[in-house]
Symmetry: C2
Subunit: 356 residues, 2 copies
């Protein structure tokens, strides 16, 4: 069996090679990842040097790790249209080209979200039945054994109900494939749990999704995002982005206050020192790095967006996400799922139930 | 000078009299509140009994505290339309009637938000130049010396740009009156800081608000809600509600994880005991009770909505908010502000600047 190849935009992100290289090497050095090989895309001599510096020569020698030259880089603040038109040999674009050609089965980039989305859409196109791709990510829940998939997180604003229905199907496929949940429960983010509440687009989406065979359970409010009550939360990209970023802002405030109060005096500092293991476990449960790797869902190929400011531990999680999706053939499953839910409205109930 | 009278929906909220009564008595017993008197609205004998039980007889005797009978109560889950049509003698409705008649200068209720908004709108109507009232609240910032006003938090969904402009004016007036900021900075909640980003309604609102003499500073993203960078954040009620509730959900998750990790073993429990003062100060900085009391802004009268599940400490903060707004004549200032910004578009620049 041929190994599954993952293309890495080696130059992307706030820290470029200094983060991507150690993450790639750590990933490939794990025995459990023996079925994968990686192509790092970037300026060849720089990539080669970074691999040497990180003791990755043997991986190059064995062929588990290869380098694909790309002469340009997309800047973190570069407008998507400019990146798309003028940087045809960027590390980001070439990595996505490898997926398009079938040379790689997934691409990972920590580069600028807008440029990545524009490039991926242009090169890969959306699969049949999906009008626009969505950004999808996994978030932690209060119960550490649970997590929740949420989409869209900012790729689309003013999404009509039909698009929200497509997001629901995509979320279902991703949750089923990566989290092994047979029939994931799906909720729409709204301002109240009652049927009459909400914006026109949400009420329209509730009707559309409710009429499918998806396991649609109704509305969920912002304070229950992390409750673990549902497997998939569907939202327009505007509200999804607001919810995600408001959560980031809140977590930052709480952690800052905690830190300030624990460093107020020598007594509290001793307290903090004693409680080091508590803070460590707390951090590991809330660590955004362990949920790093958002999926650009709905494309003809797997593209994973890493947080731009993550470190190599976080970037490795994004590679793992790409590997999991490639291994489980998420694109094939997505195409099947979308086709099923497009035609299902006209199918007799028993037949539809049988097909799920 | 006549005292300022505050009408209290004594039966409202999850806990009714057991929360409202001690809050009222604590408020009136403070010397700094000598200029205020309170009318508790509810079933007379029950209210009277609650006041006796809480040692408030002397306040009744002195006339600082009076009781206004109301035979009905609005349930916490009662549909707004039903409360409005069928409960004309509810404690909520009668308290708002007192404001309408001028017998009271403000009303406070911990009752169901939908019913309170519907009743207050019906009885008091909006002031000239305001199409719909908004829910407005103050939120803490990372810097404890700062806070931020945010509106709307859920009264209106699908708000057109013109309505968002009205919210901006209302936020400016409230921040200026209650926080003594001469020219409060105002931002629109959006999914990115760049001009081209966002939904159609937000882009339209940016143009409208940017054309006024308001101190409009541009877009703000969800992760900066608590940064203290701006004084007022304007948003449609859908996104505002999502942001607020996502923040509540996140804070709850972080605090739950903190608690779970500190009670994991006898050693961590001793740690937690030693750090008691740290947690106390942390809680006081993040205490949602100290920001209790949302304003139904834009009505012909002051109506403050307390959180339904708050305790007497929290409810007293809501009374203080009502007292502050009544003392500073927020309704008169709002009418002036709205009139000013309605006409200003046609005013020469120097004249407009002079009027602010």
């Amino acid at each position: 069996m041929n190994p599954v190849v993952i293309a890495i935009d080696a130059m992307g992100g706030d820290f470029g090679l200094s983060v991507t290289t150690p993450a790639v090497i750590a990933f490939l050095n794990k025995k459990s990842n023996a079925a994968f090989s990686i192509t790092m895309v970037g300026e060849e001599s720089q990539v080669n040097q970074a691999i040497q510096d990180a003791q990755g020569q043997s991986l190059l020698a064995s062929g588990k790790l290869t380098i694909q030259h790309a002469s340009e880089e997309v800047g973190m603040d570069e407008p998507p249209a400019k990146a798309l038109k003028r940087k045809k040999d960027s590390s980001m674009r070439v990595a996505i080209n490898l997926v398009k050609e079938g040379t790689a089965q997934a691409a990972v980039s920590a580069g600028n979200t807008g440029a990545l989305m524009a490039t991926a859409r242009f090169v890969l196109r959306t699969i049949a039945g999906v009008d626009r791709p969505a950004i999808c990510t996994t978030m932690p829940c209060i119960d550490p054994t649970k997590s929740v998939l949420m989409l869209d997180l900012g790729a689309n604003v003013d999404s009509p109900p039909e698009l929200l229905k497509q997001f629901a199907v995509m979320g279902m496929v991703l949750a089923r494939a990566t989290r092994r949940i047979e029939s994931p429960s799906i909720a729409l983010l709204n301002v109240g749990a009652e049927e009459m509440k909400g914006s026109e687009k949400i009420k329209g989406a509730a009707q559309l999704i409710g009429a499918t065979k998806l396991n649609y359970v109704g509305f969920i409010e912002g304070d229950e995002l992390y409750s673990g009550k549902v497997d998939v939360i569907v939202t327009d990209g505007f509200e999804g982005n607001v919810a995600l970023k408001a959560s980031e802002g809140t977590a930052k405030m709480v952690m800052t206050v905690l830190k300030e109060e624990f460093t107020r005096s020598w007594f509290t500092k001793i307290n903090a020192l004693m409680a080091k293991s508590v803070f460590k476990r707390m951090q590991s449960r809330l660590d955004p790095r362990s949920h790093n790797g958002a999926t650009l869902m709905g494309l003809n190929g797997i593209v994973i967006k890493s947080h731009g400011g993550t470190d190599s531990v976080g970037f490795e999680y994004a590679i793992v996400e790409a590997a999991t999706q490639a291994k489980r053939n998420i694109i094939g499953q997505l195409a099947e799922g979308v086709a099923l839910f497009e035609s299902q409205a006209n199918m007799p109930e028993e037949e539809a139930a049988h097909n799920i």
